[in-house]
């Protein structure tokens, strides 16, 4: 499982500044856009917000995984972000979210990438993985959190 392919040091922030749900989504999208993975950031934001309207992707346990599937995405990738203070994300458990994964998928993503994403989603349900992500300070830390058994 090649997790590295989906992440990149340039798409990670270990100190997110945003204080609200929408702001943090914008901050994450900005990283994605700067890295050249988006053709239209407004359009992608719309897709992500629309998904949030269905129900919040704040899955509780301090984690949020906003995601969008949209034609404005150039290749499937993930933005990783940590907020030290925590952000109210309308999470299922009512607690603030600290760890963010913004997942961007193009309209016709191939299965390999989707498999990696499903693998990551599953991993997030495990507490030890979450702990490592909390304390992650580098690209390598994030990758190793997922790769370790």
């Amino acid at each position: 499982m090649d997790i590295k392919a989906l992440f990149s040091p340039s798409r990670m922030s270990f100190d997110l500044q945003a204080k609200t749900k929408e702001a943090v989504i914008e901050e994450l999208i900005e990283l994605l856009y700067k890295d050249g993975k988006l053709s239209d950031k407004e359009k992608f934001k719309k897709a992500v917000m629309k998904r949030e309207e269905e129900f919040s992707t704040g899955i509780g346990m301090g984690i949020a995984i906003p995601h969008g599937k949209d034609s404005s995405v150039l290749e499937p990738c993930v933005v990783f972000g940590v907020s030290k203070k925590g952000i109210d994300f309308d999470s299922m458990d009512g607690e603030p979210a600290y760890i963010f994964f913004l997942i961007a998928v193009p309209e016709n993503a191939d299965d390999t990438h989707l498999h990696v994403l499903s693998f990551i989603s599953r991993k997030l349900m495990h507490e030890d993985v979450r702990k490592k992500l909390y304390n992650a300070e580098s690209f390598e830390d994030v990758i190793s959190a997922f790769e370790e058994k």
Partner: protein, 454 residues
């Protein structure tokens, strides 16, 4: 160990589907429950639930926010939840699934019956509504008449005796209401409460005019559609709307249906009714055999569906005169042999049925002796091409034998429980023989046709 199967699915199919799956798996591990989770995400279905899994499964958890095909889980208790619930409280879902009872066979049969009822539409549904309200009247009347016969077939002719009283209750009253109730509730099914009045009155007129069952059905449908049409067509000022249900609809519809029955429908239908009865009476053994075959095939063909009910309703109509009927006897026998024959087959050809089916065989036996043909449905559903022809042949054999043996039945229902009532069944011994032969024939054909289970 109990096993749970689950399906998770979310609209985007990227993240939640898998998180829910993982959450369920983790919770199951903790609770010591075996689980298999099928994920239906954007990559399609993964870790798919197989027929084997279903066999071992105790219950199903559907954590789905999208529509999925649930047919394959038929018969298993289902816990429905959203993906969110599965992520938030996977343990709760599993505990709930574990506490659910696997429905047993008899429940399944009744559920299938109910489902068929709900699915029924249009003309068939209206007719069935009428028939279902009428049946208890026929059963009450029929059994009381049968008890009267127990005092001797002509005992009721003696005025002031209990036999005469029973005949008056059963034949004179319960049977008298049969056609009005049928017509009334056909109309009720079509046009709701306002349909009841013209329907019942039309049915009663059909009785009086000698148009019987057929006349009742005509009256019921005519009344129902007439009222529905009147309701739509008559527009009253707001202040007078209250008059519609209490005055205008009942009077107008009853007038039209009543006159229609007397001047238009009554005579020809009465003639038709008479001709049919005559034909039944005059049947030579040749055409009796043909009729027996047809009725037998019909009873087994869809096990409680419209074809079966058509044959049954026809048979009930032959009882309306209050006389024991050979047709009724043939039809009841033919409706009993499918489940009975399958029950027997699970005993003589054990290796051709699954453990579950062998268990179901016992239940089928009881449904069979109670004249609940639907007891054969689960077997037929599992293997229709082999089972349905077998039970049709068995039923046809029973039906023909019953007619040839001149067996008669004075009641419309009851299965084996009416047999001990003296004179309820004419030619009791041979009737039992006819049923037994049909059962054996069904069992043998099924056993020969079905392949061995490995």
């Amino acid at each position: 160990m109990k096993k749970i199967v689950a399906v998770t699915s979310c609209p985007t199919g990227i993240a939640h589907t898998y998180m829910a799956a993982e959450a369920l798996q983790m919770a199951a591990k903790e609770l010591g429950v075996e689980i298999k989770v099928e994920t239906r995400g954007s990559v399609g279905a993964e870790n798919e639930i197989t027929a084997d899994d279903l066999k071992q499964a105790h219950a199903v958890i559907l954590a789905c926010d999208t529509k999925i095909d649930e047919d394959r889980f038929q018969g298993l208790p289902i816990v429905r939840a959203s993906v969110k619930d599965a992520i938030k409280d996977p343990k709760g879902l599993i505990t709930k699934a574990m506490s659910m009872e696997k429905k047993d066979y008899v429940d399944k049969v009744f559920e299938a019956k109910k489902e068929a009822k709900e699915k029924a539409t249009g003309v068939y549904k209206h007719l069935m509504t009428g028939v279902s309200y009428m049946i208890p009247f026929v059963v009450a009347g029929g059994i009381l008449i049968a008890i009267s016969f127990a005092f001797g077939i002509k005992a009721f002719e003696q005025k002031g005796t209990l036999a005469a009283a029973l005949m008056d209750i059963g034949g004179g009253s319960a049977f008298y209401l049969m056609v009005p109730i049928l017509a009334g509730f056909i109309a009720f099914s079509i046009a709701d409460r306002p349909g009841l009045v013209p329907g019942m009155i039309g049915g009663l007129l059909a009785n009086k005019l000698g148009a019987g069952f057929l006349g009742g059905i005509v009256a019921g449908f005519a009344a129902g559609y007439l009222v529905a049409w009147l309701k739509k067509t008559i527009k009253l000022p707001k202040t007078m709307e209250g008059l519609m249900p209490v005055l205008i609809l009942p009077v107008l519809s009853t007038l039209i249906i009543g006159l229609g029955m007397i001047y238009v429908v009554g005579e020809p239908v009465a003639a038709l009714n008479k001709a049919m009865t005559e034909w039944l009476k005059s049947m030579s053994s040749g055409s009796a055999v043909l009729l027996g075959i047809i009725l037998g095939l019909m009873m087994a063909f869809d096990m409680g569906g419209p074809v079966n009910k058509a044959a049954y309703t026809f048979a009930v109509s032959t009882l309306a005169a209050g006389q024991p009927s050979t047709i009724m006897a043939a039809v009841m026998a033919a409706g009993m042999t499918p489940p009975l024959g399958l029950a027997l087959a699970t005993l003589i050809a054990k290796d051709k049925f699954t453990t579950e089916e062998r268990e179901a065989g016992k239940a089928a036996f009881f449904l069979g002796i109670s004249f609940i043909t639907e007891g054969a449905i689960p077997f037929a559903a599992a293997d229709p091409l082999r089972v349905i022809p077998s039970i049709m042949i068995g039923s046809a054999v029973t039906s023909v034998l019953s007619i040839l043996f001149k067996c008669t039945l004075a009641v419309p229902h009851g299965g084996i429980f009416v047999l001990p009532i003296p004179n309820a069944v004419g030619n009791l011994l041979l009737y039992a023989v006819a049923i037994a032969i049909g059962t054996v024939v069904t069992a043998l054909i099924v056993s020969i046709l079905k392949p061995k289970k490995v």
